[in-house]
Symmetry: C2
Subunit: 191 residues, 2 copies
């Protein structure tokens, strides 16, 4: 099977042998055990992670409590742009909540490829547009929707997630208490 990034990029534009080889050599694929950290608070990001299989959970530590801020599953990328692009310490942790296989996107190698193959920059820019769109939508949902509606939207958009991660992490991600999530789930099941 070909490299996942070659596969994705080939859907947009046919790639030369040279381009394919450079992408494959630049972005190794690794599998991490459940519980592995790919990023910790205070570290300066050098890598982004495209998830091929598994799940990376993003969280912040607030007064000793883990607040879950994202779940990156198949086809999503765990990227801390604040730390990567400004080279400031990360506020978040990335932890594999399942055995997880990723393509590792090192920022220096990415920049080399941008110069060598400008089409790779176009590919990344298009990916970024989708990522901003996704974060923008999620932020707006947080502002405009009630917790119950946010839960139902999550059920619709990412039904797999609800069976893959513990309920208290889902509650944290929705910005509500576990008890509130239990109440919402009971009411949703009744209807």
């Amino acid at each position: 099977m070909s490299h996942i990034l070659v596969e994705l990029m080939s859907r947009l534009t046919p790639l030369s042998k040279n381009e394919k080889a450079d992408i494959e050599n630049s972005f190794p694929i690794e599998t991490y055990k459940k519980g592995s950290f790919l990023m910790r608070e205070g570290q300066i990001a050098r890598n982004a992670y495209y998830v091929i299989s598994g799940c990376i959970r993003e969280y912040e530590l607030v007064d000793g409590e883990e607040k879950t801020t994202a779940f990156y599953t198949e086809g999503r990328s765990a990227i801390n742009f604040n730390s990567l692009s400004q080279q400031v310490p990360s506020k978040v942790y990335f932890i594999c909540s399942e055995p997880t296989t990723v393509a590792i996107l090192n920022t220096d190698k990415e920049k080399e490829l941008y110069l060598k193959h400008p089409r790779f920059e176009t590919f990344c820019r298009i990916g970024m547009e989708q990522m901003i769109g996704a974060k923008h939508s999620q932020l707006n949902e947080f502002i405009t929707m009630k917790p119950r509606d946010r839960y139902e939207k999550l059920q619709q958009d990412r039904p797999d997630l609800l069976n893959r991660v513990p309920q208290y992490q889902i509650a944290s991600y929705l910005g509500i208490k576990p008890e509130t999530l239990s109440r919402i789930r009971k009411r949703t099941l009744k209807n």
Copy 2:
């Protein structure tokens, strides 16, 4: 005075006369009256707006009520990437809450320039990285912070905003009721 985008891009890399002229000709600068709509729900986005002066408020209509989801002031860009990149109808409105001067970034002209001047794509990609970083931080703040802390952070990060827009819009943007914001403000003033 030179074109704002030429100015910003020149900070990253010296530009040729040709590049400067193309940027100036592609992205006209316009001033809109207070109350002008730059985007309405249901429209398909063709333009993004870099704010030179003034303020664009983003909101969604939920059961007839305006829920404010963003304020784009000087140096920020009002962009609906979901609608722009997937060409789907917008869920949000962009309204000028002050007389507002913007550089209009038309998506077709942008794509033309990417092909003609690859450095322009690099410039936009870097801008996008900062934008994702900003939306990511804001989303995480919504998940991890209490309304009072979010208000104090807004006071710190964007003190001008609190004097430029009505309190009920600030409350909406913080995802709280106007009464709650009043209480928070009184307590903050006391301390």
